[in-house]
């Protein structure tokens, strides 16, 4: 756990992309666990144990009976050391919403690692809430009165100015007091009114937080809106019960400010930066393309209305992965098939490919990408510009429509995203002078060229490179079924190299068997085993060849789930791990874990073991609300475990992925 400590500050930034925003109502099933968790967490806090990243934080959920419970539930996720001050006066309404708290890792009274986790898991609330505040703050706040209060305190303290401002604690205190019973609208109005006359920076801050309760402005007005660094001390002391701040001192509870319960508002400057520095507009830029967060009720509603595929609510969603599109495909297929002839806007070839994705007939990064491109090619062939429309615009919209249909069938892979980007780019760059038929034929040949150059020829180049790394007497290990690895093995065999292959496979897909079948048919010497045996089989292996769904710019390899495990074991055995991946699958995104972006598969598949009727313990798992099954499709392999990435540009270390991404993009401009 200690290892996580230095990452505290970083974690929230990445995690914010995909975790439960406060707007989502917590599942009723878990509500009873809140007090438990709270208690246990505070007990554990001193021992330094922490939530493991996969553990689910207790939902912050509003009990309606007023202030104390609000405060307590909010405070629960953060370990509160048993300080008498703390216990008696109900403090820290900010609780988990205040990431700064946990940034004060040096505070002796809180176990840093605990705080850490609290931060990393909750801090995403900050941006999310801000975003919600922008769009639909009203809904959010009213649906969650208690948390909005907390948000408020946090925001204000954060926005108070340099360091910790004296006023912050005051405001927070007043806010909490104001909380119960003030209706959302009133609060909003109140703020509007009260904002006038506040010093400027503060005003900006509060305006950003419209719709959050804000009473007792008189108190605030009285305060000099000091924003200097000297303010740190007073605020800390006003923070009172909280053993706050870097100095690690426990400061005396302040007596000067007596409004409401004493509220602690320790805000480290670093936290403030996170909150302050990124105003909403900037954040838009920061997040390259906001992916759909499937636990965001509001947007899911909207998306549903547009959807062709009927989205039914998946049951028993796994907490940590709620933001991902839930697997509901199995039930969709018959429904969609029946709609085949009714769907107007969809081109039949696209529709067909969509269904194939849905049913799993086409899988594998390259296969899916090629199928999609060919379908688009068909669609473009049959396309004619409607009257009074421009081809460039209309076709782009059409393609966008197809793409969203495909996404509904199965989430796009990164390689497909890149291909779509390429196609849209080509459409946008079409010279206006071209006639429709010319434009269409240009696009069709562009697609052909993309498939040819970026996939087929690229594969050949990769095979050439990879074969140089196979020597006689090698034992090669591969996991799952990667088309490129298969080509490499077969080519090396054709060249007459003497080597042995270990095919490692895993449930539930068991793709490795298909690969094994092909290899054995060609006369290769193979061993087949499941991933459970990986640590045993690894000692005799000399090279590990793996495919990848994508390679991200920090060198992380995003691939079939289990790849990370294989790579890690290989690394532990000092066996070089070679990743084979075409350059068109590279992506400039950075990803540190497998949580924020992933795909969920059918949970039923892992609950059932074919041919074993006696293993029916999970028979009716869906009825049990305490049970969630997680069938992840991908995982992220850290670059430390990877010795080499073989692409069509040659063999490169994982640190050079950004160069390829850069060069690749430049090349795109040339085409």
């Amino acid at each position: 756990m200690d290892r996580r400590v230095p990452r505290t500050v970083i974690d929230p930034k990445f995690r914010q992309v995909g975790f439960v925003p406060p707007g989502a109502t917590p599942p009723p099933a878990r509500s009873h666990s809140v007090p438990n968790d709270a208690r246990s967490s505070s007990e554990l806090s001193l021992s330094g144990s922490s939530l493991s990243p996969v553990m689910i934080p207790p939902p912050r959920h509003a009990s309606a009976d007023g202030l104390p419970s609000v405060v307590r539930s909010a405070a629960s996720p953060v370990p509160i050391p048993a300080s008498p001050l703390r216990r008696d006066t109900v403090q820290i309404p900010i609780g988990s919403y205040n990431p700064s708290e946990s940034l004060l890792g040096s505070s002796p009274m809180m176990s840093p690692s605990r705080q850490l986790d609290a931060v990393s898991e909750f801090s995403d609330d900050v941006p999310t809430s801000a975003r919600l505040g922008r769009s639909g703050s009203g809904k959010f706040a009213s649906s969650f009165p208690s948390s909005s209060g907390e948000m408020m305190t946090m925001k204000i303290t954060g926005g108070g100015g340099g360091g910790n401002t004296p006023k912050s604690s005051l405001t927070t205190a007043s806010v909490v007091k104001a909380l119960p019973g003030v209706s959302e609208k009133d609060r909003g109005a109140l703020i509007e009114v009260q904002n006038e006359g506040i010093s400027k920076p503060q005003k900006q801050k509060t305006q950003k937080l419209r719709g959050v309760p804000f009473k007792r402005l008189s108190v605030q007005r009285r305060l000099p809106a000091k924003e200097s660094g000297e303010a740190v001390k007073p605020s800390a002391s006003s923070g009172g019960a909280l053993p706050a701040l870097k100095q690690g001192k426990v400061v005396k509870p302040s007596s000067q400010k007596k409004d409401g319960p004493q509220v602690t508002a320790p805000v480290a400057s670093s936290e403030k930066k996170v909150v302050d520095r990124i105003p909403d507009k900037d954040r838009k830029k920061d997040v390259p393309h906001p992916r759909m967060q499937f636990d965001d009720k509001h947007r899911v509603e909207k998306a549903k209305r547009r959807a062709v595929v009927n989205q039914s609510e998946a049951r028993n969603r796994v907490e940590l992965f709620r933001h991902l599109p839930q697997y509901i495909h199995g039930t969709q297929l018959p429904d969609l098939e029946s709609k085949f002839f009714q769907l107007d806007p969809m081109h039949p070839s696209v529709y067909k490919v969509g269904l194939q994705f849905l049913s799993g007939d086409i899988s594998g990064g390259n296969a899916r990408c090629i199928a999609m491109l060919l379908a688009f090619q068909e669609a473009i062939k049959d396309y004619s510009t409607p009257p009074e429309k421009v081809l460039v615009r209309d076709l782009t919209a059409k393609i966008g429509c197809y793409v969203s249909f495909l996404i509904e069938c199965r989430p796009l892979s990164i390689s497909m995203g890149n291909a779509i980007k390429f196609l849209k780019n080509r459409i946008a760059k079409l010279p206006h002078t071209l006639s429709e038929s010319e434009a269409k034929s240009t696009l069709i040949s562009d697609i052909d060229r993309f498939i040819n150059e970026k996939i087929i020829i690229a594969d050949k180049v990769i095979v050439r490179h990879a074969v140089t790394k196979i020597r006689d007497g090698d034992v090669l290990l591969t996991y799952g079924s990667s088309s490129i690895v298969e080509m490499i093995l077969l080519y090396a065999h054709e060249l007459g190299k003497q080597f042995r292959v270990v095919v490692v496979d895993s449930r539930p897909t068991l793709e490795g068997q298909a690969l094994l079948h092909k290899l054995v048919a060609k006369g290769l010497n193979c061993t087949y085993t499941h991933i459970n045996a990986i640590s045993y089989v690894m000692h005799e292996v000399t090279r590990v060849f793996l495919g990848a769904s994508s390679v991200l710019s920090n060198g992380t390899v995003y691939s079939r789930v289990g790849t990370a495990c294989v790579a890690m074991v290989a690394n532990a055995f000092q066996v070089p791990v070679l990743i084979c991946c075409e350059a068109y699958k590279f992506h400039e995104r950075v990803q540190l874990d497998s949580i924020c972006s992933n795909e969920l598969g059918d949970p039923d598949v892992i609950s059932k073991v074919p041919g074993r009727n006696d293993l029916n313990h999970l028979h009716s798992w869906a009825d049990n609300e305490n049970l969630q099954l997680l069938n992840l499709i991908y995982d992220a392999t850290p670059s430390d475990y990877i010795s080499m990435i073989i692409t069509d540009y040659g063999m490169i270390p994982p640190t050079s992925v950004p160069v390829i991404v850069r060069e690749y993009r430049r090349e795109h401009l040339w085409i």
Partner: protein, 414 residues
């Protein structure tokens, strides 16, 4: 004066045209140097098969650096004792004179007998101050000069053929193949094709080739400038092998009145460390010699490790004289920085995954006593140091972290 220069053994030999006198009589010295029998035939026959035991690359090195024997040391000491020139002054002049000589020589060669790249390469290769990659580049430039091609395409094919012969002549030399690749890249990537006039284009290519050679020669000076900043007063530097670049760095630092101490490994089997220590002692730098196995013992007093490189590979690791890897490992585990000085023409598009993933460069090892029958001897001359054990690379492109090497290579070859 240049007789006293660092490579006087070789120079003398060149002057006297007496190849057999190059190697001292083994019986004279206490520890007989390995006079490889294949060397002499090679001098007569410019195109030997290099793959019968000894890497041609290391043959060249042996010729350049001579083989250290007590006899040689005595001679060298005497030279220093006479207070004659430290090598600093004469190297550039020697290089210049040899370059002039080379030009005339190659032109003459082009006119007379049928041209052979290998001849040319061997000619350049003998120059003491010329790295192998530069020799390859010079040889290829000579190919262009003597080419009778009439179109760009023909010329390119001819060049390709020549570089392939060169590369296959010695497959173990990384800098040779890197130099060939680089030159091919440098030549074919240029805007030479824009010239309608073929002769103008050809002239331009030759010019480029020669310029490249100059750039390569300048590289060492650039590196010395960059590298000496890292040497601070009263630091202790561990050096392994004889690297001209490292020597240049240390020399510049010494001439800038930096006070530092150098620990030299012995550098078995060719004892390059002995030679290096001798050169440093001539500069007035305090030197201490270690046997190769005393590296870990003395690592705690070392502030930094300086090594050269035979080749810098795509991962950012280096291929260097045997023993570099273990020194880097020891340094890494004791948190000492490992600095590599290497010219950018040593960057090669290679990516060894492990030590055995390279064409082994073999070199005979003299153990001083007869080896019992049935005992195998590891004769590989170099090892691969993975990038995670290196701190920085000083190159003429700047001071790089190992991961940047691949970036440079991709941009160069893409």
């Amino acid at each position: 004066m240049w007789l006293r220069s660092a490579s006087f053994v070789l120079d003398k030999r060149l002057q006297q045209q007496e190849p057999s006198s190059f190697f001292h009589d083994p019986r004279d010295s206490a520890q007989p140097p390995p006079p490889s029998p294949s060397v002499d035939p090679m001098d007569q026959n410019p195109d030997p098969n290099p793959n019968h035991g000894i890497s041609a690359y290391y043959q060249t090195r042996a010729e350049h650096h001579a083989v250290v024997s007590s006899d040689w040391l005595a001679q060298a000491q005497a030279a220093i004792g006479r207070g004659a020139a430290p090598p600093s002054g004469c190297w550039p002049s020697a290089a210049a004179s040899s370059a002039v000589a080379a030009r005339t020589g190659s032109v003459g060669g082009g006119g007379g007998k049928p041209f052979s790249v290998i001849d040319e390469f061997n000619y350049w290769r003998k120059k003491p101050d010329l790295a192998e990659a530069v020799a390859a580049i010079m040889a290829l430039a000579a190919v262009i000069r003597s080419s009778e091609a009439t179109t760009m395409m023909e010329l390119e094919i001819e060049l390709k053929k020549a570089s392939d012969t060169l590369k296959s002549w010695d497959t173990t030399s990384i800098s040779l193949s890197a130099g060939c690749d680089l030159f091919m890249r440098y030549v074919t990537r240029t805007s030479a094709l824009e010239y309608e006039d073929f002769d103008a284009a050809k002239l331009r290519l030759i010019e480029r080739g020669e310029k490249f050679g100059e750039i390569s020669l300048k590289a060492r000076r650039t590196i010395a400038m960059l590298g000496q900043d890292f040497i601070f007063d009263s630091c202790t530097i561990l050096v392994h092998g004889f690297s001209r670049v490292v020597f240049e760095v240390l020399k510049l630092a010494a001439s800038n009145r930096k006070l530092f101490r150098v620990l030299c490994t012995e550098g078995r089997p060719d004892r390059t460390g002995l030679r290096f220590s001798n050169e440093l002692a001539a500069l007035g730098v305090p030197v201490k010699l270690l046997i190769d196995s005393a590296v870990a013992y003395s690592m705690d007093e070392v502030d930094m490790v300086f090594v050269g490189a035979d080749g810098v590979v795509e991962s950012g690791g280096i291929i260097n004289m045997m023993g570099t890897y273990q020194i880097a490992l020891v340094a890494h585990s004791m948190n000492k920085p490992v600095y590599v000085a290497a010219e950018s023409y040593k960057f090669a598009r290679l990516y060894p995954l492990d030590q055995k993933d390279l064409a082994p460069a073999l070199r005979p090892i003299d153990f001083g006593v007869p080896i019992p029958s049935g005992v195998e001897v590891e004769t590989s001359a170099r090892d691969y140091t993975p990038p995670q054990y290196l701190t920085l690379l000083f190159t003429d492109l700047g001071v790089l972290t190992p991961s940047v090497v691949s970036d440079e290579l991709i941009q160069l070859y893409l």
